[in-house]
Amino acid sequence: MKIAIPVNENKSESSICVSFGRAPYFMLHDVEEKTTKYIANTAAEAQGGAGLKAAQLIVDSGANILLTIRCGQNAAEALNAAQIKIYKADGLGVAENLAAFLEGKLAPMTQFHAGFHGHQ
């Protein structure tokens, strides 16, 4: 099982990034292999459709699970089609959220926001 998390930096002390589509990096944690790698999010600078481009990265990374603070409707639809499950992260700690997820303490995400389309 591979878990993807949007993060602010490509190192283990990093916090979770509150944005999914525009997070600078994605952390990819392989639970069985106990390995962690970081992929740069090439969607972060996209003018529009950043969530969809980021979803493509997650789909291609082979992740099965996404832990995130928030996620847009379009990205959720793409991830859903790829059978990637989305869980709502609780707080910004990466290690804490990974542990909480593995203990079954995180809830599947049920609220997806509409596009920001240039608004904040």
């Binding site: 950043a50 969809l52 979803a55 493509q56 639809e77 089609a81």
Partner: protein, 279 residues
């Protein structure tokens, strides 16, 4: 002359000024580009309506022919395509109908289908030709309907009034593209001035000559006048708040057709605009 009437903030009186200018001109074309809520027709009540459906093109992917090369996904600058499992998945409200995916596909797997997004209604109100763009509920972009509505205006010596959507985003840019002159309608309030500055910036970027109409004028707030003065924007008309105008508007009447004083006010405004625009 093509005259675009716009405002940053909604509800400042774009439609009020637009329909009155068309009425004061007598023979004119009125185009409602405020496709999310086209209200000009409530006042102009056009007859003999002919409605056209407006379609956009959307790509369709044939999974038999798709080899999974992803050239289309990489090409789409709007990121409307995500490759999931065996073929690209389309996010239709992100798609801008550019047709690029079909052009770059090396295996002919992309065809196009038409999707309705709204309609354009044409009719007559006396000597005013009334064109109304109406976007379907739930659509993300009004641009295709705005383009179709603007295409209904022939090149003519008559006045063409383009009643724009509120704000200063893409749909407004599209609406004023062909305008010879832009009339900015604003209320003298802090909120009004804030949004006035945004539309002023837009028309300046597009090098459009412009003038202002201050609606519900006469209060203590002078910053809007100060801004116009500093930036050389001529204030062509100040319309004081009046209960009479409010009553006429609320009952769907056009002031310039109901009252000789207002008829004269808008005729005079039109003369000033023509002078400013040199048309």
């Amino acid at each position: 002359m093509k005259l675009a009437v716009l405002s940053g903030k909604g509800g400042t009186g774009k439609t009020f000024v637009s329909v009155n200018l068309a009425a004061a001109a007598g023979s004119a074309i009125y185009i409602d580009c405020d496709v999310e809520e086209p209200n000009g027709r409530i006042f102009l009540r056009p007859e003999n309506l002919i409605s056209k459906t407006i379609n956009i093109k959307q790509p369709v992917f044939d999974s038999e022919k798709c080899t999974g090369c992803r050239k289309c996904v990489a090409f789409c600058r709007f990121n409307a395509l995500v490759y999931v499992k065996t073929k690209p998945m389309l996010f239709s409200e992100v798609c801008h109908s550019c047709g690029g995916c079909r052009l770059v596909c090396p295996s002919g797997a992309v065809s196009e289908t038409e999707k309705p997004v709204g309609n354009v209604e044409c009719g007559k109100s006396g000597d005013i030709r009334v064109v109304t763009g109406c976007m379907d509920l739930g659509e993300a972009s009004g641009i295709p309907v705005i383009r179709a509505a603007l295409a209904e205006a022939p090149d003519t010596d008559d006045l063409t009034v383009i009643d724009c959507p509120p704000g200063s985003a893409c749909s407004v840019m599209e609406s004023i593209q062909a305008a010879d002159y832009c009339l900015l309608v604003a209320e003298p309030t802090a909120f009004g001035l804030h949004n006035f500055k945004m539309v002023y910036e837009l028309v300046s970027l597009l090098h459009k000559p412009c003038g202002a109409v201050i609606n519900k004028a006469g209060g203590k707030y002078t910053e809007l006048d100060d801004f116009c003065c500093e930036h050389g924007v001529p204030v062509l008309l100040r319309i004081p708040y009046s209960e009479k105008l409010a009553r006429l508007g609320a009952s769907g009447q056009i002031a310039a057709l109901s009252d000789s004083e207002y008829a004269e006010m808008f005729r005079s405004l039109l003369g000033d605009i023509r002078r400013e625009a040199h048309v």
